[in-house]
Protein backbone atom coordinates (compact mmCIF):
# COMPACT_ATOMS: atom_id res chain seq x y z
CA UNK A 1 0.00 0.00 0.00
CA UNK A 2 2.71 2.43 0.91
CA UNK A 3 4.56 1.86 -2.29
CA UNK A 4 2.15 3.94 -4.23
CA UNK A 5 3.08 6.96 -2.24
CA UNK A 6 5.14 9.42 -4.24
CA UNK A 7 8.81 9.58 -3.57
CA UNK A 8 10.40 6.18 -3.70
CA UNK A 9 13.35 4.54 -2.08
CA UNK A 10 15.78 5.83 -4.59
CA UNK A 11 14.99 9.44 -4.09
CA UNK A 12 15.14 8.83 -0.38
CA UNK A 13 18.50 7.16 -0.55
CA UNK A 14 20.05 9.59 -2.90
CA UNK A 15 18.15 12.71 -2.18
CA UNK A 16 18.82 15.53 -4.51
CA UNK A 17 21.49 13.62 -6.31
CA UNK A 18 18.82 11.47 -7.89
CA UNK A 19 18.44 14.10 -10.51
CA UNK A 20 22.03 13.60 -11.55
CA UNK A 21 21.83 9.90 -12.24
CA UNK A 22 21.72 8.84 -15.83
CA UNK A 23 18.86 6.80 -17.20
CA UNK A 24 20.93 3.63 -17.25
CA UNK A 25 22.07 4.08 -13.71
CA UNK A 26 18.49 4.65 -12.62
CA UNK A 27 17.39 1.50 -14.41
CA UNK A 28 20.12 -0.53 -12.75
CA UNK A 29 19.24 0.83 -9.37
CA UNK A 30 15.64 -0.05 -9.92
CA UNK A 31 16.53 -3.63 -10.59
CA UNK A 32 18.75 -3.67 -7.53
CA UNK A 33 16.04 -2.37 -5.27
CA UNK A 34 13.50 -4.59 -6.93
CA UNK A 35 11.13 -1.80 -7.74
CA UNK A 36 11.17 -2.45 -11.45
CA UNK A 37 8.78 -5.34 -11.24
CA UNK A 38 5.06 -4.67 -11.11
CA UNK A 39 3.65 -3.82 -7.72
CA UNK A 40 1.91 -7.16 -7.21
CA UNK A 41 5.06 -9.14 -7.94
CA UNK A 42 7.00 -7.01 -5.54
CA UNK A 43 4.38 -7.62 -2.89
CA UNK A 44 4.43 -11.40 -3.35
CA UNK A 45 8.16 -11.74 -3.19
CA UNK A 46 8.15 -9.52 -0.16
CA UNK A 47 5.58 -11.61 1.68
CA UNK A 48 7.37 -14.85 0.99
CA UNK A 49 10.68 -13.58 2.20
CA UNK A 50 8.98 -11.96 5.18
CA UNK A 51 7.45 -15.23 6.21
CA UNK A 52 10.82 -16.91 6.11
CA UNK A 53 12.21 -14.31 8.43
CA UNK A 54 13.85 -12.07 5.94
CA UNK A 55 12.34 -8.67 6.39
CA UNK A 56 14.64 -6.80 4.14
CA UNK A 57 17.31 -4.34 4.72
CA UNK A 58 17.28 -0.94 6.29
CA UNK A 59 19.37 1.26 4.11
CA UNK A 60 19.76 4.15 6.44
CA UNK A 61 21.15 2.15 9.30
CA UNK A 62 22.81 -0.56 7.25
CA UNK A 63 21.27 -3.26 9.39
CA UNK A 64 18.75 -5.97 8.50
CA UNK A 65 15.27 -4.89 9.47
CA UNK A 66 14.67 -8.09 11.36
CA UNK A 67 17.47 -7.14 13.69
CA UNK A 68 16.01 -3.70 14.24
CA UNK A 69 12.60 -5.22 14.83
CA UNK A 70 13.95 -7.83 17.19
CA UNK A 71 15.32 -5.08 19.37
CA UNK A 72 12.42 -2.69 19.08
CA UNK A 73 9.46 -5.06 19.36
CA UNK A 74 10.05 -6.24 22.93
CA UNK A 75 10.24 -2.65 24.10
CA UNK A 76 6.91 -1.78 22.56
CA UNK A 77 5.32 -4.98 23.78
CA UNK A 78 6.56 -4.40 27.29
CA UNK A 79 5.29 -0.84 27.50
CA UNK A 80 2.00 -1.88 25.90
CA UNK A 81 1.52 -4.65 28.44
CA UNK A 82 2.29 -2.38 31.36
CA UNK A 83 0.06 0.33 29.99
CA UNK A 84 -2.80 -2.12 29.44
CA UNK A 85 -2.48 -3.70 32.87
CA UNK A 86 -2.39 -0.34 34.62
CA UNK A 87 -5.23 0.93 32.48
CA UNK A 88 -7.43 -2.09 33.17
CA UNK A 89 -6.76 -1.90 36.90
CA UNK A 90 -7.66 1.75 36.99
CA UNK A 91 -10.53 1.51 34.54
CA UNK A 92 -12.25 -1.48 36.10
CA UNK A 93 -11.98 -0.15 39.64
CA UNK A 94 -13.29 3.28 38.74
CA UNK A 95 -15.97 1.68 36.59
CA UNK A 96 -17.12 -0.56 39.42
CA UNK A 97 -16.97 2.34 41.83
CA UNK A 98 -19.12 4.47 39.57
CA UNK A 99 -21.62 1.76 38.81
CA UNK A 100 -22.49 1.08 42.42
CA UNK A 101 -24.54 4.23 42.71
CA UNK A 102 -25.40 5.50 39.28
CA UNK A 103 -26.31 9.15 39.20
CA UNK A 104 -24.59 9.87 42.50
CA UNK A 105 -21.67 12.13 43.30
CA UNK A 106 -19.29 9.22 43.17
CA UNK A 107 -20.62 8.30 39.75
CA UNK A 108 -20.12 11.85 38.61
CA UNK A 109 -16.56 11.77 39.94
CA UNK A 110 -15.85 8.51 38.18
CA UNK A 111 -17.19 9.75 34.89
CA UNK A 112 -15.28 12.97 35.23
CA UNK A 113 -12.13 10.94 35.68
CA UNK A 114 -12.97 8.99 32.55
CA UNK A 115 -13.64 12.14 30.57
CA UNK A 116 -10.41 13.83 31.58
CA UNK A 117 -8.40 10.68 31.01
CA UNK A 118 -9.73 10.74 27.51
CA UNK A 119 -9.49 14.43 26.79
CA UNK A 120 -6.04 15.25 28.08
CA UNK A 121 -3.77 14.26 25.22
CA UNK A 122 -1.00 11.79 25.91
CA UNK A 123 1.62 14.19 24.76
CA UNK A 124 0.38 16.86 27.14
CA UNK A 125 0.47 14.51 30.08
CA UNK A 126 3.89 13.25 29.09
CA UNK A 127 5.31 16.72 28.63
CA UNK A 128 3.91 17.78 31.98
CA UNK A 129 5.48 14.77 33.65
CA UNK A 130 8.79 15.52 31.99
CA UNK A 131 8.66 19.12 33.07
CA UNK A 132 7.66 18.45 36.63
CA UNK A 133 9.72 15.35 37.23
CA UNK A 134 12.87 16.20 35.35
CA UNK A 135 13.09 19.83 36.21
CA UNK A 136 11.39 20.23 39.54
CA UNK A 137 12.16 16.90 41.17
CA UNK A 138 15.24 16.03 39.22
CA UNK A 139 13.99 12.47 38.73
CA UNK A 140 13.95 11.27 35.18
CA UNK A 141 15.06 7.71 34.57
CA UNK A 142 14.29 7.98 30.88
CA UNK A 143 17.18 10.34 30.37
CA UNK A 144 19.55 7.43 30.68
CA UNK A 145 20.22 4.83 28.09
CA UNK A 146 17.41 2.38 27.78
CA UNK A 147 17.86 -0.87 29.66
CA UNK A 148 15.94 -4.01 28.84
CA UNK A 149 14.51 -6.00 31.76
CA UNK A 150 17.17 -8.68 31.43
CA UNK A 151 19.93 -6.11 31.48
CA UNK A 152 18.89 -4.07 34.49
CA UNK A 153 15.48 -4.84 35.92
CA UNK A 154 15.28 -1.94 38.32
CA UNK A 155 16.27 0.64 35.75
CA UNK A 156 13.90 -0.87 33.25
CA UNK A 157 11.07 -0.71 35.74
CA UNK A 158 11.73 2.94 36.40
CA UNK A 159 11.95 3.72 32.74
CA UNK A 160 8.64 2.00 32.13
CA UNK A 161 6.92 3.86 34.92
CA UNK A 162 6.01 7.13 33.26
CA UNK A 163 5.21 5.91 29.77
CA UNK A 164 3.25 3.03 31.31
CA UNK A 165 1.31 5.46 33.45
CA UNK A 166 0.49 7.81 30.59
CA UNK A 167 -0.63 4.95 28.37
CA UNK A 168 -2.50 3.43 31.28
CA UNK A 169 -4.52 6.56 31.75
CA UNK A 170 -5.39 6.60 28.08
CA UNK A 171 -6.57 2.98 28.30
CA UNK A 172 -8.43 3.54 31.56
CA UNK A 173 -10.93 5.90 29.97
CA UNK A 174 -12.67 3.52 27.53
CA UNK A 175 -12.22 0.55 29.87
CA UNK A 176 -13.96 2.49 32.61
CA UNK A 177 -16.89 3.31 30.38
CA UNK A 178 -17.26 -0.26 29.21
CA UNK A 179 -17.00 -1.60 32.75
CA UNK A 180 -19.56 0.82 34.07
CA UNK A 181 -22.18 0.09 31.46
CA UNK A 182 -21.59 -3.66 31.58
CA UNK A 183 -21.96 -3.68 35.34
CA UNK A 184 -25.08 -1.53 35.29
CA UNK A 185 -26.64 -3.96 32.88
CA UNK A 186 -25.68 -7.03 34.85
CA UNK A 187 -26.61 -5.62 38.25
CA UNK A 188 -30.31 -5.70 37.37
CA UNK A 189 -30.28 -9.36 36.43
CA UNK A 190 -32.27 -11.94 38.36
CA UNK A 191 -29.37 -14.05 39.52
CA UNK A 192 -27.86 -11.04 41.26
CA UNK A 193 -31.07 -10.69 43.21
CA UNK A 194 -30.88 -14.38 44.04
CA UNK A 195 -27.37 -13.90 45.36
CA UNK A 196 -28.42 -11.07 47.64
CA UNK A 197 -31.44 -13.12 48.65
CA UNK A 198 -29.16 -15.92 49.75
CA UNK A 199 -27.40 -13.58 52.12
CA UNK A 200 -24.18 -13.38 50.12
CA UNK A 201 -22.11 -10.39 51.31
CA UNK A 202 -22.37 -7.40 49.02
CA UNK A 203 -18.70 -7.34 48.13
CA UNK A 204 -18.73 -10.91 47.02
CA UNK A 205 -21.86 -10.34 44.96
CA UNK A 206 -20.18 -7.43 43.20
CA UNK A 207 -17.15 -9.46 42.21
CA UNK A 208 -18.23 -13.07 41.95
CA UNK A 209 -21.62 -12.46 40.41
CA UNK A 210 -21.77 -9.05 38.82
CA UNK A 211 -18.23 -8.45 37.59
CA UNK A 212 -17.68 -12.04 36.58
CA UNK A 213 -20.68 -11.83 34.28
CA UNK A 214 -19.71 -8.46 32.88
CA UNK A 215 -16.31 -9.60 31.74
CA UNK A 216 -16.95 -10.26 28.10
CA UNK A 217 -17.29 -6.66 26.95
CA UNK A 218 -14.44 -5.68 29.27
CA UNK A 219 -12.14 -8.29 27.81
CA UNK A 220 -13.08 -7.25 24.30
CA UNK A 221 -12.25 -3.63 25.06
CA UNK A 222 -8.98 -4.61 26.74
CA UNK A 223 -7.92 -6.52 23.67
CA UNK A 224 -8.70 -3.57 21.44
CA UNK A 225 -6.83 -1.19 23.71
CA UNK A 226 -3.79 -3.41 23.86
CA UNK A 227 -3.66 -3.55 20.10
CA UNK A 228 -4.04 0.19 20.00
CA UNK A 229 -1.19 0.71 22.40
CA UNK A 230 1.17 -1.34 20.31
CA UNK A 231 0.94 1.14 17.49
CA UNK A 232 -0.45 4.18 19.16
CA UNK A 233 2.34 4.55 21.67
CA UNK A 234 4.30 6.41 19.04
CA UNK A 235 4.28 9.79 20.69
CA UNK A 236 4.87 8.48 24.18
CA UNK A 237 7.76 6.35 22.96
CA UNK A 238 9.28 9.39 21.38
CA UNK A 239 8.93 11.68 24.39
CA UNK A 240 10.37 9.15 26.78
CA UNK A 241 13.07 8.06 24.37
CA UNK A 242 11.97 4.43 24.29
CA UNK A 243 13.54 2.58 21.38
CA UNK A 244 10.37 0.79 20.34
CA UNK A 245 8.47 0.01 17.16
CA UNK A 246 6.69 3.33 17.24
CA UNK A 247 9.91 5.24 17.02
CA UNK A 248 11.17 2.86 14.39
CA UNK A 249 8.23 3.59 12.20
CA UNK A 250 8.36 7.34 12.68
CA UNK A 251 12.04 7.41 11.78
CA UNK A 252 11.48 5.17 8.79
CA UNK A 253 8.66 7.33 7.50
CA UNK A 254 10.74 10.42 7.75
CA UNK A 255 13.49 8.72 5.82
CA UNK A 256 11.10 7.33 3.27
CA UNK A 257 12.28 3.84 4.03
CA UNK A 258 9.36 1.73 2.95
CA UNK A 259 10.84 -1.64 3.62
CA UNK A 260 11.05 -0.82 7.29
CA UNK A 261 7.63 0.74 7.43
CA UNK A 262 6.07 -2.15 5.57
CA UNK A 263 7.68 -4.79 7.76
CA UNK A 264 6.73 -2.97 10.89
CA UNK A 265 3.16 -2.56 9.73
CA UNK A 266 3.06 -6.27 8.89
CA UNK A 267 4.33 -7.08 12.34
CA UNK A 268 1.54 -5.02 13.81
CA UNK A 269 -1.05 -6.70 11.63
CA UNK A 270 0.13 -10.11 12.80
CA UNK A 271 -0.04 -8.98 16.40
CA UNK A 272 -3.61 -7.77 15.96
CA UNK A 273 -4.60 -11.17 14.64
CA UNK A 274 -2.88 -12.86 17.55
CA UNK A 275 -4.67 -10.62 20.00
CA UNK A 276 -7.98 -11.59 18.46
CA UNK A 277 -7.16 -15.25 18.82
CA UNK A 278 -6.12 -14.82 22.43
CA UNK A 279 -9.26 -12.87 23.26
CA UNK A 280 -11.33 -15.70 21.79
CA UNK A 281 -9.57 -18.21 23.98
CA UNK A 282 -10.23 -16.05 27.01
CA UNK A 283 -13.93 -15.82 26.13
CA UNK A 284 -14.16 -19.57 26.21
CA UNK A 285 -12.65 -19.67 29.65
CA UNK A 286 -14.86 -16.94 31.04
CA UNK A 287 -18.19 -18.19 29.81
CA UNK A 288 -18.81 -21.92 29.89
CA UNK A 289 -21.83 -21.45 27.65
CA UNK A 290 -19.70 -20.59 24.63
CA UNK A 291 -18.78 -23.72 22.75
Amino acid sequence: MLRVIPGNTITAAFGIETGMLTEDQLADLRVYYGIDKPLIAQYFSWITSFLTGNMGYSYSTGVPISTLTKMALPVTIEVAIIGTVLGVLMGVSVGMFSARKPGSIRDFGGQLFGLLALAIPGFVLSTTIVTVMANKFKYFPNAFEYKAPWQDLWMNAQQMLFPGLVLGIAVAAPVMRTTRSAILETADKDFVRTAYGKGVPAKRVRFRHVLRNSLIPIVTMTGIQFGYLLGGAVIVEKIFAMPGMGRQIVDAIEKREYATVQSSVMVFAIMFVLINVVTDVIYRRIDPRIK
Partner: protein, 320 residues
Amino acid sequence: MSLIQVSNLSIYTSQEPRVLVNDVSFEIHEGEAVGLVGESGSGKTLSALSILGLLPRGVEATHGEIRFLGRSLDDLDSESMRKIRGSEIAMIYQDPMTALNPVMKLGDQLMEVIESHPEVGELTIERVKEVLRDVGIPDIERAINSYPHEFSGGMRQRIVIAMALLLSPKLLIADEPTTALDVTIQQQILALVAEERQKRKLSMLWITHDLGVVANLVDRLHVMYAGRIVESGTVKEIFENPQHPYTQGLLSSLPSPRGASRERLSSIPGVPEKPWLVGSSCAFAPRCSFATDKCRQELPGLSGNSAHKVACFYPLGASR
Protein backbone atom coordinates in the same frame (compact mmCIF):
# COMPACT_ATOMS: atom_id res chain seq x y z
CA MET B 1 -47.16 -16.87 67.54
CA SER B 2 -46.65 -14.28 64.91
CA LEU B 3 -43.66 -15.06 62.75
CA ILE B 4 -43.83 -12.10 60.48
CA GLN B 5 -45.98 -9.01 60.51
CA VAL B 6 -46.21 -6.57 57.67
CA SER B 7 -47.98 -3.35 58.65
CA ASN B 8 -49.09 -0.55 56.38
CA LEU B 9 -46.55 -1.27 53.72
CA SER B 10 -46.45 1.19 50.86
CA ILE B 11 -44.04 0.95 47.97
CA TYR B 12 -43.26 3.73 45.51
CA THR B 13 -41.07 4.32 42.52
CA SER B 14 -38.29 6.72 43.47
CA GLN B 15 -38.69 9.07 40.55
CA GLU B 16 -41.95 10.97 40.07
CA PRO B 17 -43.22 8.96 43.00
CA ARG B 18 -45.82 6.50 41.84
CA VAL B 19 -47.44 4.24 44.31
CA LEU B 20 -47.17 0.56 43.49
CA VAL B 21 -48.30 -0.97 46.75
CA ASN B 22 -50.71 0.95 48.91
CA ASP B 23 -51.06 0.40 52.62
CA VAL B 24 -50.83 -3.37 52.70
CA SER B 25 -50.85 -5.34 55.96
CA PHE B 26 -50.69 -9.04 56.58
CA GLU B 27 -49.36 -11.50 59.07
CA ILE B 28 -47.99 -15.00 59.01
CA HIS B 29 -48.04 -17.18 62.09
CA GLU B 30 -45.58 -19.87 62.86
CA GLY B 31 -46.30 -22.98 60.86
CA GLU B 32 -48.85 -21.20 58.70
CA ALA B 33 -48.96 -20.85 54.96
CA VAL B 34 -50.41 -17.61 53.63
CA GLY B 35 -51.16 -16.73 50.02
CA LEU B 36 -50.99 -13.39 48.24
CA VAL B 37 -53.18 -13.65 45.20
CA GLY B 38 -53.55 -11.13 42.41
CA GLU B 39 -52.94 -10.35 38.76
CA SER B 40 -49.60 -9.05 37.55
CA GLY B 41 -49.25 -5.45 38.57
CA SER B 42 -51.24 -5.96 41.76
CA GLY B 43 -48.12 -5.48 43.84
CA LYS B 44 -47.87 -8.95 45.31
CA THR B 45 -44.29 -9.66 44.23
CA LEU B 46 -43.05 -6.29 45.42
CA SER B 47 -44.67 -6.79 48.79
CA ALA B 48 -42.82 -10.07 49.17
CA LEU B 49 -39.50 -8.64 47.98
CA SER B 50 -39.71 -5.83 50.47
CA ILE B 51 -39.68 -8.32 53.33
CA LEU B 52 -36.17 -9.32 52.35
CA GLY B 53 -35.16 -5.84 51.29
CA LEU B 54 -34.72 -6.96 47.71
CA LEU B 55 -36.60 -4.19 45.98
CA PRO B 56 -35.12 -3.31 42.60
CA ARG B 57 -33.32 -0.07 41.86
CA GLY B 58 -35.70 2.84 41.59
CA VAL B 59 -38.29 1.34 43.91
CA GLU B 60 -38.56 2.04 47.61
CA ALA B 61 -40.73 1.07 50.49
CA THR B 62 -41.47 4.37 52.08
CA HIS B 63 -43.95 3.54 54.75
CA GLY B 64 -44.83 0.69 56.94
CA GLU B 65 -43.11 -1.64 59.25
CA ILE B 66 -42.08 -5.23 58.94
CA ARG B 67 -41.56 -7.25 62.09
CA PHE B 68 -39.90 -10.62 62.03
CA LEU B 69 -40.04 -12.63 65.25
CA GLY B 70 -40.84 -9.42 67.00
CA ARG B 71 -37.81 -7.51 65.67
CA SER B 72 -38.44 -4.61 63.36
CA LEU B 73 -36.53 -5.22 60.16
CA ASP B 74 -36.16 -1.50 59.45
CA ASP B 75 -34.07 -1.04 62.57
CA LEU B 76 -31.56 -3.60 61.48
CA ASP B 77 -28.29 -2.59 59.92
CA SER B 78 -27.42 -4.09 56.58
CA GLU B 79 -25.17 -6.78 58.02
CA SER B 80 -27.86 -8.10 60.34
CA MET B 81 -30.35 -8.06 57.50
CA ARG B 82 -27.91 -9.95 55.33
CA LYS B 83 -27.62 -12.67 57.94
CA ILE B 84 -31.35 -13.19 57.92
CA ARG B 85 -31.46 -13.66 54.16
CA GLY B 86 -31.00 -17.21 53.12
CA SER B 87 -30.84 -18.57 56.64
CA GLU B 88 -33.98 -17.44 58.44
CA ILE B 89 -36.00 -16.17 55.53
CA ALA B 90 -35.45 -17.64 52.08
CA MET B 91 -37.06 -17.08 48.73
CA ILE B 92 -37.67 -18.98 45.53
CA TYR B 93 -38.30 -17.06 42.36
CA GLN B 94 -40.46 -17.05 39.32
CA ASP B 95 -38.06 -17.67 36.45
CA PRO B 96 -35.60 -20.51 37.01
CA MET B 97 -33.88 -19.78 33.71
CA THR B 98 -32.46 -16.50 34.98
CA ALA B 99 -32.30 -17.10 38.71
CA LEU B 100 -28.91 -18.79 38.73
CA ASN B 101 -25.46 -17.41 37.99
CA PRO B 102 -24.60 -18.73 34.52
CA VAL B 103 -20.85 -18.86 35.00
CA MET B 104 -20.70 -20.52 38.39
CA LYS B 105 -20.93 -24.23 39.06
CA LEU B 106 -24.11 -25.32 40.81
CA GLY B 107 -22.19 -26.90 43.66
CA ASP B 108 -20.39 -23.62 44.26
CA GLN B 109 -23.62 -21.65 44.18
CA LEU B 110 -25.15 -23.98 46.75
CA MET B 111 -22.08 -23.97 48.98
CA GLU B 112 -22.14 -20.19 48.76
CA VAL B 113 -25.23 -20.14 50.95
CA ILE B 114 -23.43 -22.12 53.61
CA GLU B 115 -20.26 -20.09 53.31
CA SER B 116 -22.16 -16.83 53.65
CA HIS B 117 -23.57 -17.92 56.98
CA PRO B 118 -20.76 -19.31 59.09
CA GLU B 119 -22.76 -18.42 62.17
CA VAL B 120 -25.26 -21.17 61.42
CA GLY B 121 -22.77 -23.86 62.23
CA GLU B 122 -20.61 -26.48 60.70
CA LEU B 123 -22.23 -27.48 57.45
CA THR B 124 -20.47 -29.10 54.56
CA ILE B 125 -21.06 -30.33 51.06
CA GLU B 126 -22.80 -33.27 52.65
CA ARG B 127 -25.64 -31.02 53.62
CA VAL B 128 -25.84 -29.81 50.01
CA LYS B 129 -26.01 -33.36 48.75
CA GLU B 130 -28.66 -34.23 51.30
CA VAL B 131 -30.93 -31.39 50.21
CA LEU B 132 -30.34 -32.13 46.55
CA ARG B 133 -31.52 -35.65 47.22
CA ASP B 134 -34.61 -34.29 48.93
CA VAL B 135 -35.57 -32.16 45.97
CA GLY B 136 -35.11 -35.02 43.59
CA ILE B 137 -31.97 -34.24 41.61
CA PRO B 138 -30.61 -37.37 39.98
CA ASP B 139 -26.85 -37.95 39.68
CA ILE B 140 -25.86 -35.51 42.39
CA GLU B 141 -22.11 -35.71 41.84
CA ARG B 142 -22.47 -34.61 38.25
CA ALA B 143 -24.96 -31.90 39.12
CA ILE B 144 -22.62 -30.31 41.61
CA ASN B 145 -19.97 -29.87 38.94
CA SER B 146 -22.34 -28.65 36.24
CA TYR B 147 -23.48 -25.27 35.09
CA PRO B 148 -27.07 -24.04 35.07
CA HIS B 149 -27.43 -24.07 31.30
CA GLU B 150 -26.95 -27.83 31.29
CA PHE B 151 -30.26 -28.28 33.05
CA SER B 152 -33.92 -27.88 32.16
CA GLY B 153 -36.21 -25.32 33.77
CA GLY B 154 -37.75 -27.83 36.10
CA MET B 155 -34.38 -29.05 37.31
CA ARG B 156 -33.11 -25.54 37.79
CA GLN B 157 -36.12 -24.68 39.89
CA ARG B 158 -35.37 -27.70 42.07
CA ILE B 159 -31.89 -26.30 42.57
CA VAL B 160 -33.33 -22.93 43.52
CA ILE B 161 -35.59 -24.66 46.03
CA ALA B 162 -32.65 -26.61 47.38
CA MET B 163 -30.70 -23.36 47.82
CA ALA B 164 -33.57 -21.93 49.81
CA LEU B 165 -33.93 -24.96 52.07
CA LEU B 166 -30.25 -25.49 52.81
CA LEU B 167 -30.18 -23.64 56.09
CA SER B 168 -33.67 -24.64 57.26
CA PRO B 169 -35.23 -21.20 57.13
CA LYS B 170 -38.21 -20.36 59.29
CA LEU B 171 -40.03 -18.61 56.48
CA LEU B 172 -40.04 -19.56 52.82
CA ILE B 173 -41.35 -17.08 50.27
CA ALA B 174 -42.39 -18.60 46.96
CA ASP B 175 -42.96 -16.13 44.14
CA GLU B 176 -44.98 -17.94 41.50
CA PRO B 177 -42.37 -20.66 41.26
CA THR B 178 -44.28 -22.59 38.63
CA THR B 179 -45.50 -19.89 36.26
CA ALA B 180 -42.55 -20.27 33.92
CA LEU B 181 -42.69 -24.05 33.78
CA ASP B 182 -44.57 -26.64 31.75
CA VAL B 183 -47.86 -27.78 33.20
CA THR B 184 -46.63 -31.27 33.96
CA ILE B 185 -43.55 -29.96 35.73
CA GLN B 186 -45.67 -27.45 37.61
CA GLN B 187 -47.43 -30.18 39.47
CA GLN B 188 -44.18 -31.82 40.43
CA ILE B 189 -42.69 -28.62 41.76
CA LEU B 190 -45.79 -27.66 43.70
CA ALA B 191 -45.93 -31.12 45.20
CA LEU B 192 -42.28 -30.90 46.10
CA VAL B 193 -42.65 -27.60 47.90
CA ALA B 194 -45.78 -28.74 49.71
CA GLU B 195 -44.01 -31.91 50.81
CA GLU B 196 -40.95 -30.07 52.03
CA ARG B 197 -43.14 -27.71 53.92
CA GLN B 198 -44.84 -30.52 55.73
CA LYS B 199 -41.57 -32.24 56.54
CA ARG B 200 -39.87 -29.22 57.90
CA LYS B 201 -42.91 -27.49 59.32
CA LEU B 202 -42.03 -24.37 57.36
CA SER B 203 -44.05 -21.20 57.39
CA MET B 204 -44.72 -20.01 53.89
CA LEU B 205 -45.77 -17.03 51.86
CA TRP B 206 -47.12 -18.06 48.49
CA ILE B 207 -47.39 -15.48 45.73
CA THR B 208 -49.55 -16.42 42.81
CA HIS B 209 -52.13 -15.21 40.32
CA ASP B 210 -53.84 -18.56 40.28
CA LEU B 211 -56.48 -19.06 42.95
CA GLY B 212 -56.86 -22.65 41.90
CA VAL B 213 -53.22 -23.45 42.60
CA VAL B 214 -53.16 -21.84 45.96
CA ALA B 215 -56.20 -23.52 47.46
CA ASN B 216 -54.36 -26.68 48.45
CA LEU B 217 -51.25 -24.95 49.59
CA VAL B 218 -52.24 -22.28 52.08
CA ASP B 219 -54.29 -21.86 55.19
CA ARG B 220 -55.21 -18.25 54.65
CA LEU B 221 -54.98 -15.92 51.73
CA HIS B 222 -55.18 -12.26 50.75
CA VAL B 223 -56.51 -11.05 47.46
CA MET B 224 -54.70 -8.03 46.04
CA TYR B 225 -55.93 -5.63 43.43
CA ALA B 226 -54.16 -2.51 42.12
CA GLY B 227 -51.78 -2.40 45.02
CA ARG B 228 -54.24 -2.97 47.84
CA ILE B 229 -55.63 -5.94 49.69
CA VAL B 230 -59.31 -6.25 48.89
CA GLU B 231 -60.20 -9.44 50.68
CA SER B 232 -58.58 -11.69 53.29
CA GLY B 233 -59.66 -14.88 54.92
CA THR B 234 -59.22 -18.57 55.41
CA VAL B 235 -59.28 -20.67 52.28
CA LYS B 236 -62.59 -22.20 53.25
CA GLU B 237 -64.20 -18.83 53.80
CA ILE B 238 -62.94 -17.29 50.58
CA PHE B 239 -63.86 -20.21 48.40
CA GLU B 240 -67.27 -20.90 49.90
CA ASN B 241 -68.22 -17.34 50.65
CA PRO B 242 -66.40 -14.80 48.51
CA GLN B 243 -67.47 -11.29 49.43
CA HIS B 244 -65.56 -9.05 47.07
CA PRO B 245 -66.82 -8.91 43.47
CA TYR B 246 -63.25 -9.26 42.25
CA THR B 247 -62.69 -12.42 44.22
CA GLN B 248 -65.97 -13.75 42.91
CA GLY B 249 -64.78 -12.95 39.41
CA LEU B 250 -61.50 -14.79 39.98
CA LEU B 251 -63.30 -17.84 41.28
CA SER B 252 -65.75 -17.97 38.40
CA SER B 253 -62.99 -17.81 35.88
CA LEU B 254 -61.46 -21.01 37.16
CA PRO B 255 -62.28 -23.96 34.97
CA SER B 256 -64.55 -26.16 36.99
CA PRO B 257 -64.00 -29.91 36.92
CA ARG B 258 -67.69 -30.33 37.56
CA GLY B 259 -69.03 -28.11 34.82
CA ALA B 260 -69.86 -29.22 31.31
CA SER B 261 -66.76 -29.15 29.14
CA ARG B 262 -68.42 -26.87 26.60
CA GLU B 263 -69.01 -24.09 29.13
CA ARG B 264 -67.29 -20.82 28.31
CA LEU B 265 -64.89 -19.62 30.94
CA SER B 266 -66.13 -16.39 32.38
CA SER B 267 -63.73 -13.52 32.68
CA ILE B 268 -63.84 -10.14 34.28
CA PRO B 269 -64.40 -7.43 31.68
CA GLY B 270 -61.82 -4.67 31.42
CA VAL B 271 -58.20 -4.49 32.55
CA PRO B 272 -56.70 -3.86 35.98
CA GLU B 273 -56.07 -0.24 36.86
CA LYS B 274 -52.56 0.93 37.53
CA PRO B 275 -52.12 1.48 41.26
CA TRP B 276 -50.89 5.04 40.94
CA LEU B 277 -53.79 6.14 38.80
CA VAL B 278 -56.41 5.17 41.32
CA GLY B 279 -57.53 8.07 43.39
CA SER B 280 -59.24 7.62 46.72
CA SER B 281 -61.98 5.42 45.42
CA CYS B 282 -62.50 1.75 45.01
CA ALA B 283 -60.00 0.61 42.41
CA PHE B 284 -62.27 -2.14 41.14
CA ALA B 285 -65.27 0.16 40.57
CA PRO B 286 -64.78 0.59 36.80
CA ARG B 287 -65.09 -3.14 36.28
CA CYS B 288 -67.61 -3.94 38.97
CA SER B 289 -71.17 -4.69 37.96
CA PHE B 290 -72.41 -3.56 41.34
CA ALA B 291 -70.55 -0.28 41.56
CA THR B 292 -72.38 2.82 42.79
CA ASP B 293 -71.34 6.45 43.05
CA LYS B 294 -70.19 5.86 46.56
CA CYS B 295 -67.72 3.27 45.25
CA ARG B 296 -66.36 5.75 42.79
CA GLN B 297 -65.86 8.48 45.34
CA GLU B 298 -64.79 6.83 48.54
CA LEU B 299 -62.18 4.30 49.44
CA PRO B 300 -63.52 1.22 51.18
CA GLY B 301 -61.34 0.00 54.04
CA LEU B 302 -60.93 -3.57 55.17
CA SER B 303 -63.56 -4.66 57.64
CA GLY B 304 -64.81 -7.93 58.99
CA ASN B 305 -63.75 -10.48 61.54
CA SER B 306 -60.59 -12.46 62.10
CA ALA B 307 -61.64 -15.19 59.70
CA HIS B 308 -62.77 -12.97 56.88
CA LYS B 309 -62.21 -9.32 55.93
CA VAL B 310 -63.23 -7.44 52.83
CA ALA B 311 -62.77 -3.95 51.44
CA CYS B 312 -66.07 -3.26 49.79
CA PHE B 313 -69.10 -1.13 50.54
CA TYR B 314 -71.44 -3.80 49.26
CA PRO B 315 -69.91 -7.18 50.02
CA LEU B 316 -71.61 -10.06 48.28
CA GLY B 317 -73.81 -12.14 50.48
CA ALA B 318 -74.35 -9.31 52.95
CA SER B 319 -77.63 -7.45 52.95
CA ARG B 320 -77.58 -4.64 50.45
